[in-house]
């Protein structure tokens, strides 16, 4: 009896999660006349015209490419710098380590709105404005601390005896780190990459401020279209659905890591 009640609650919650997404999808395969004309749970004449509009217009689809590029760069940079740092934090005491760790975390707490203008000026002055690397670096502000934090948790779960044995066996640090240690925390790296992807992919404020044309992310394209014409609901919904797809794919790939990996580190 209790078993069934539990599952009803879960089912209700999942329906609550999926309804708005379904509605977005539903709208994306309707024509604008049907959207504004009648309330239909299922589209009368499903059409892919809205998707065709997006996938054939460079102004739209370049937004997706730009977003992918800077998110990719950001995940790579975050992981590369965070891996050695997390190792240092999990294995060694060094001067100022606790303060440094806390300072890193405070950056995760800084509202992006605070940094808008300074970021704009900083990246303009070094000529990086409207490049993918600018957005990727700006997103490092919150992703690198997060990556260090998560990885440190995973690394602390690996017994230190493994390090010591490897050094006794004559492994140098770089060789030990790349051939033994990194494979051991695979799932931790998966979870970290997932979080970095997530926070970089969903962020709008900094990405919009630091780009104008060449590196304009899809999320900015969407808001500008809303303010300009405002009424093409079908295309807007289709663009929304397409921004969900990469996220859904990433979740699908890390689904086993989410379940197993979360318990191993602290996150």
């Amino acid at each position: 009896m209790r078993f069934q009640k539990r599952h009803i609650a879960l089912l209700v919650y999942i329906v609550f999660l999926l309804l708005p997404i379904y509605w977005l999808f539903n709208m994306s395969i309707k024509t604008n006349t049907e959207i504004l004309g009648a309330m239909t749970l299922f589209p009368d004449n499903p059409t892919l015209a809205n998707y065709a509009t997006i996938l054939t217009d460079p102004a739209w689809y370049s937004g997706y490419i730009n977003s992918m590029i800077y998110v990719g760069i950001n995940v790579v940079i975050s992981l590369l710098v965070a891996l050695p740092a997390a190792y240092a934090f999990s294995r060694y005491n060094f001067t100022g380590d606790k303060h440094l760790f806390f300072w890193l975390l405070t950056n995760r707490m800084a509202p992006p709105a605070v940094f808008l203008l300074p970021f704009f000026q900083l990246y303009s002055s070094v000529g990086l404005f409207d490049t993918h690397i600018a957005v990727a670096l700006a997103h490092c502000l919150f992703n690198v601390p997060l990556a260090v934090w998560i990885l440190e948790g995973f690394m602390s779960g690996i017994p230190k005896e493994i390090d010591e044995t490897a050094y006794i066996d004559g492994y140098s640090f770089p060789r030990f780190f790349t051939t033994i240690f990194i494979p051991l925390i695979r799932s931790g790296i998966g979870v970290t990459a997932f979080f970095c992807f997530m926070f970089s992919w969903v962020e709008l404020l900094l990405a919009r401020t630091l780009t104008s044309v060449n590196a304009k992310p899809i999320v900015a394209t969407m808001t500008r279209t809303v303010s300009a014409s405002g009424l093409d609901w079908g295309v807007l919904a289709a663009a929304g659905v397409l921004t969900i797809v990469p996220g859904a794919l990433v979740i699908w790939f890390v689904r086993n890591y989410i379940a197993k990996g979360f318990a191993m580190g602290r996150v």
């Binding site: 209790r2 539990r6 609650a9 879960l10 999942i14 609550f16 999660l17 309804l19 708005p20 997404i21 977005l24 709208m27 959207i35 504004l36 309330m39 940079i77 590369l80 710098v81 050695p84 740092a85 240092a88 294995r91 060694y92 005491n93 060094f94 001067t95 440094l100 890193l104 950056n107 707490m109 800084a110 509202p111 709105a113 605070v114 940094f115 203008l117 300074p118 970021f119 900083l122 670096l137 490092c140 690198v144 601390p145 997530m198 992919w201 969903v202 709008l204 807007l236 919904a237 929304g240 921004t243 969900i244 996220g247 859904a248 979740i251 689904r255 379940a259 979360f262 318990a263 602290r266």
Partner: protein, 290 residues
């Protein structure tokens, strides 16, 4: 774990230090710089000391935004944390259902924030949205773009929709780390469901819950994009939270000095609350262990 003292570890940390310093210290210094000067153009500027801070602290619009923000963040935590724990307890522990639930639950977290706003904009509209249409059909006069209360509730429900999954996933991770033996022992002892929850499950979830609460506090305190897309801070100022207010001052009115002073105060509030919460919880945890 005993750690070796070794200052060479700094070399491993340096890349992180540099990359975060570029993105953090230089902009932060710029903000500090603005907050104590009155800037007309790049050549003409005056040192004004703490005037901006005083002006900002006495600004009643800021007080209103701060109160709205506190009420909002409080509601978010009050609803999302218990709900997240509850949902985590209902999740299946093995079988194909685990993966399916993980994917479905994580989905809202991976949707760009402005798209979340768009989704709820579309969903909540009385004329074309399923949610708004249904509510009106049920006899409620629901319109989030006209009625402040409706707008506020919509933003809150949107946040619950968006972020409860994070709490669920974290709690679920904590629950999975409980060995089956604990449950068996509890069964033999004839422990009630509540006792199992209170003395086995909750303590195991404590450390992940701290992270969950901290993340939800920070992010809901900094919320900008979703209400911006959904309501634009309105109607009136019903959903103008701190970030929204800051952007209005800094970009809309181009008052750099007050905006910078406000930024620093804003940052300090978040820092202080996180620090106090973290310290209190960690000390409580240590006492319990002893």
């Amino acid at each position: 774990m005993n750690k070796i003292t070794n200052n060479k570890a700094w070399f491993l940390v340096l890349p992180v230090f540099f990359i975060v310093a570029i993105s953090a210290i230089i902009p932060l210094m710029t903000v500090v710089n603005y907050s104590v000067q009155d800037i007309f153009d790049p050549q003409t500027r005056f040192f004004v000391g703490t005037d901006w801070f005083r002006q900002v602290l006495e600004d009643s619009r800021l007080h209103d935004a701060l109160i709205r923000q506190i009420v909002y963040t409080g509601s978010v935590l009050f609803i999302e944390v218990p709900l997240g724990i509850g949902i985590a307890l209902t999740l299946p522990r093995k079988g194909w259902g685990v993966s399916a639930c993980m994917v479905l639950l994580a989905l809202p977290l991976l949707i760009p924030w402005n798209v979340v706003g768009t989704i709820w904009q579309i969903f909540g509209r009385a004329d074309i949205g399923l949610g708004g249409y249904t509510l009106n059909l049920l006899g409620m006069d629901y319109n989030y773009s006209q009625n402040p209360m409706d707008a506020w509730v919509t933003v809150l429900v949107m946040d619950i929709w968006h972020w409860t999954s994070l709490i669920v996933l974290l709690c679920y991770a904590g629950l999975r780390s409980i060995p089956d033996a604990y449950y068996q022992a509890a069964k033999i002892d004839g422990a009630s469901n509540w006792a199992v929850f209170r003395f086995i499950q909750l303590p195991k979830m404590q450390s992940v819950l701290v992270i969950g609460v901290l993340l939800r506090f920070m992010d809901s305190f900094m919320i900008y994009t979703e209400p911006f897309v959904l309501t634009g801070g309105g109607p009136g100022t019903a959903t103008t939270f701190l970030s929204q207010f800051l952007v209005t001052v800094a970009v809309g009115q181009f008052d750099l000095g007050p905006a910078a002073a406000f930024s620093l105060i804003y940052f300090l509030i978040i820092l202080l609350v996180c620090w106090v919460f973290y310290t209190v919880v960690m000390n409580a945890g240590k006492r319990e262990e002893q």
